[in-house]
């Protein structure tokens, strides 16, 4: 997670409040150079702007709205979204606290009070992941998604279990026989039954005839008739 290491609020080139990390003593001087350049280039700081300057391993982000400039220095890892969210936040707080006095204040006039606010917000935006509204929203979406999946699980458990339904339909499919196909087999079966019955009848008839002949011809080999 990126860190914000210096912050200041200014009107034109006049710094009214600032707060910096002790590890970066030159941040203030660089910030003032940037503010001087911006004031000179814009003819006294008339227009609103959002701009970033890179210096060595640090980036200076500047946001000017309604004549009041918010500036901060952050490392590369902070990206742009969080620093500018930070700038918008402190700009809002500053304007809300001091109102129109900001337009006539002398250098460092608000530093005693607002420096502490700057420090707190620098910590907040450097350390708290919820500072990024989009990241927070994405987290909420993930939560919604998980809740929906949980609900789906509960629905499937409360009713019949889905696997059970699929198993039942698979079993039914295995058991289903085509209604029509049986007809031919049945007719074959009955036909064969008739054939066997006929054969048996013929056989019995032959046996009876043979017995009668045996009796009439006085012997099993039918000697008198041959």
């Amino acid at each position: 997670m990126g860190r914000i290491q210096y912050a200041a609020v200014a009107r034109g080139a006049v710094v009214m409040a600032e707060h910096g990390d002790a590890a970066f003593p030159n941040a203030g001087a660089v910030a003032r150079q940037i503010l001087d350049r911006l004031s000179a280039g814009d003819g006294g700081g008339g227009g609103d702007c959002n701009i970033s300057y890179t210096q060595d391993l640090h980036v200076f982000h500047v946001k000017r709205t309604d004549g009041v400039t918010a500036l901060c220095m952050a490392d590369d890892a902070a990206g742009r979204r969080i620093p500018f969210a930070f700038l918008e936040d402190i700009h809002g707080r500053f304007v809300k606290t001091y109102g129109r006095a900001a337009l006539t204040a002398l250098a460092y006039a608000m530093n005693d009070e607002f420096s502490r606010v700057l420090g707190q917000q620098m910590d907040y935006y450097s350390n708290d992941p919820n500072a990024d509204r989009i990241s927070r929203m994405r987290g909420e979406m993930d939560q919604v998604r998980n809740v929906m999946i949980d609900n789906i699980d509960k629905v499937l458990e409360r009713g019949d279990r889905l696997e059970l339904l699929v198993d039942k339909t698979a079993t039914m499919q295995g058991n289903t026989m085509r209604f029509k196909r049986q007809a031919r087999r049945f007719r074959n079966t009955v036909w064969w039954r008739n054939v066997k019955l006929t054969a048996a009848s013929v056989f019995i008839l032959l046996v009876i005839i043979y017995i009668v002949l045996v009796y009439m011809c006085h012997g099993f080999t039918l000697p008198s008739c041959i």
Binding site: G159, L162, M172, M177, R178, F179, K180, V190
Partner: protein, 601 residues
């Protein structure tokens, strides 16, 4: 889960008809002020559940009771009897009223006949000396929508009355119901009828039009293009065959009543033994609408596809994390259909416990053999064997009737032999049953050569079914037999009776083909040319509507065949089915069996 069917997609505005029935009933309730007890005959209670919710009656101060032989238990001072015009109900009502007299209860009694009062009923009330205590009225409920495309006249005994008892009063009711439809939707220009009752109904319809004409000047083109009336008697073969559609099997195995079926809770996956649950079955259930008319072979495949598809999607949801919230939402919507799938999987599984038996398949084989008029001896032996095994008599009689119908009766030797065997196996008390079957022409001695082979060839009733999943002919419903009645409808719709004039003479009863009200229609179109054109725009994009009326009952398989026909590309008609009752072979024979036993007592 409402039992009242959803009529939003009906080819006619049936919802308006139903609302009128609701309004009529609520007006009757409003005309009796204060709390009242409504006593309904049990059959009518089922019918009313198709018209309005029971809770709506309670809003009008109605307390519901079923009419029975027991004394009436209620605190209400006003009693409203709502019963069909049947003699036995009059005796029950009279006994209840007499039961109240000694108690000194000061009650008012109202009696509303459904659909109209009859002289015979009033005569009984007079004989029982309760006529003076009753305020009489009529609740003209002639037809009830069962579903988007099915209307019922609720005349349960019309087949029995026409065939055996010679009572044709139900024919008047049928004509009256059609006349009411004409008041709502215009005079039907084409009328085709086949059978004794149907031709009589067609003539009655003409008489009613003359006595109480529908005013065609108020409306333009009639919504119903053709009405085809068929007697059940013309085709008794079809209901005797085992239906193989999902809905037909449900009716055969579990009995569908008023659009729902009642089964044990254990069958539906619940754990409460001995309890029964009622499952509504109509077009409001989208899955049921999709599978109801399929051959049962295919239903199992469809259910499996749906369950498997949801299971696969579920596995995908669990295994990957890339699904977006909207995709999850779509999946949850699909989960809403899971209870429907579960319900029908349970019902289908229960049906399969019947259809999976070898005896069921053997029976199908015999039916097929009988229909193809092959191997009379085999069929005879099979039926004889069933009698000896003492199978349920309904099952025996169905095959027996089928054999008799396709052979124009049995040879005298076989006929006498089987009758004797039935009396030996099932008891002498079935002698009146056999007499009634003979009188109705269902099981008779052979006196002439059978026309069945000629009919099956001319109409192509016996068809080999190669693909039950994507059938090209209505014969998929019986896996090889096309219903004779629906073949007649196909011809009637296409070219009228002319092309099959000779064939119609082979079937029982006269036939009729006429155009009605043509002069009225011509004059109305002349006078109201713009209005006519305006009205005709309403049905632009809609196909012509054919009303098919079955007097004596229709089977779910036949309804499925008509739905199949109207879904075909080349077919230019929508079908609306109207019937006295939805039947199957069991429900046709059971009243005859029951009545025959009552005669013996």
């Amino acid at each position: 889960m409402a039992q009242i069917p959803n009529l939003d997609n009906a080819p006619l505005n049936l919802a308006a008809l139903r609302e009128q029935s609701q309004k009529d009933l609520l007006n009757i309730l409003k005309s009796i002020r204060g709390k009242k007890c409504v006593v309904i005959d049990p059959k009518l209670a089922g019918t009313l559940s198709l018209i309005l919710q029971t809770s709506l009656l309670k809003e009008y101060g109605a307390e519901l009771r079923l009419l029975s032989a027991e004394p009436l238990q209620t605190e209400c001072a006003k009693i409203l009897y709502l019963v069909r015009s049947e003699l036995k109900f009059m005796k029950l009502i009279a006994s209840q009223i007499k039961n109240d007299e000694p108690k000194g209860l000061q009650r008012e009694f109202f009696l509303y006949f459904v659909p109209r009062r009859t002289v015979a009923c009033e005569k009984i009330l007079e004989e029982e000396k309760v006529h003076q205590k009753l305020t009489l009225g009529e609740y003209p409920l002639y037809l009830v929508p069962l579903d988007e495309d099915v209307i019922c006249f609720e005349l349960d005994h019309s087949l029995q009355e026409c065939l055996i008892e010679g009572d044709t009063s139900s024919v008047w009711h049928v004509a009256k119901a059609i006349h009411k439809l004409e008041f709502a939707f215009g005079v039907i220009p084409n009328v085709r009828a086949k059978g004794v009752a149907s031709t009589k109904a067609a003539e009655l319809l003409n008489s009613m039009q003359q006595e109480d004409p529908v005013n065609m000047d108020d409306m333009g083109t009639p919504e119903i293009n053709t009405v085809i009336l068929l007697d059940r008697e013309v085709d008794l073969v079809t209901p005797m065959c085992s239906q193989l559609t999902y809905e037909g099997l449900l009716d055969e195995m579990l009995q569908i009543n008023n659009g729902s079926v009642e089964v044990d809770a254990t069958i539906m996956g619940a754990q409460q033994d001995g309890k029964k649950v009622k499952v509504p079955l109509n077009s409001s259930d989208k899955l049921y609408k999709e599978i109801r008319d399929l051959n049962f072979e295919v239903v199992v495949q469809v259910l499996r596809q749906k369950a498997t598809s949801i299971q696969q999607d579920y596995a995908e949801v669990k295994s990957t994390n890339t699904q977006s919230v909207s995709e999850l939402k779509d999946f949850v919507k699909r989960l809403h259909s899971l209870p429907e799938i579960a319900r029908h999987v349970h019902l289908a599984q229960h049906l399969q416990s019947f259809t999976g038996k070898p005896s069921f398949h053997a029976r199908l084989d015999i039916e097929q053999t009988i229909l193809e008029v092959q191997n009379f001896e085999i069929c005879f032996e099979y039926i004889e064997e069933m009698i000896h095994k003492q199978e349920p008599i309904e099952n025996v009689l169905r095959l027996l009737v089928l054999l008799s119908l396709t052979n124009a009766g049995l040879p005298k030797k076989n006929f006498d032999y089987l009758r004797r065997e039935i009396l030996h196996s099932y008891g002498f008390e079935h002698m009146p049953l056999l007499y009634n079957l003979e009188k109705a022409g269902l099981f008779k001695r052979q006196e002439s050569r059978s026309n069945w082979i000629g009919i099956t060839r001319a109409l192509q009733l016996i068809v080999d079914v190669n693909d039950t999943a994507n059938p090209s002919d209505i014969s998929y419903i019986f896996s090889g037999y096309a219903p004779l009645s629906i073949r007649l409808v196909q011809h009637a719709v296409r070219s009228g009776w002319r092309s099959i004039e000779e064939l119609l003479k082979l079937l029982p009863g006269p036939h009729l083909d006429l155009k009605r009200g043509s002069s009225a229609i011509n004059s109305s179109l002349d006078v109201h040319q713009g209005l006519g054109l305006q009205q005709s725009i309403d049905r632009v994009g809609h196909r012509s509507l054919v009303l098919v009326v079955f007097i004596g009952g229709v089977t779910f398989a036949e309804i499925a065949a008509l739905r199949f026909l109207s879904s075909q590309e080349g077919m230019g008609y929508d079908f609306l089915v109207a019937t006295t009752k939805v039947v199957n072979g069991n429900t046709i024979l059971r009243p005859i069996i029951t009545n025959s036993k009552e005669v013996m007592i």
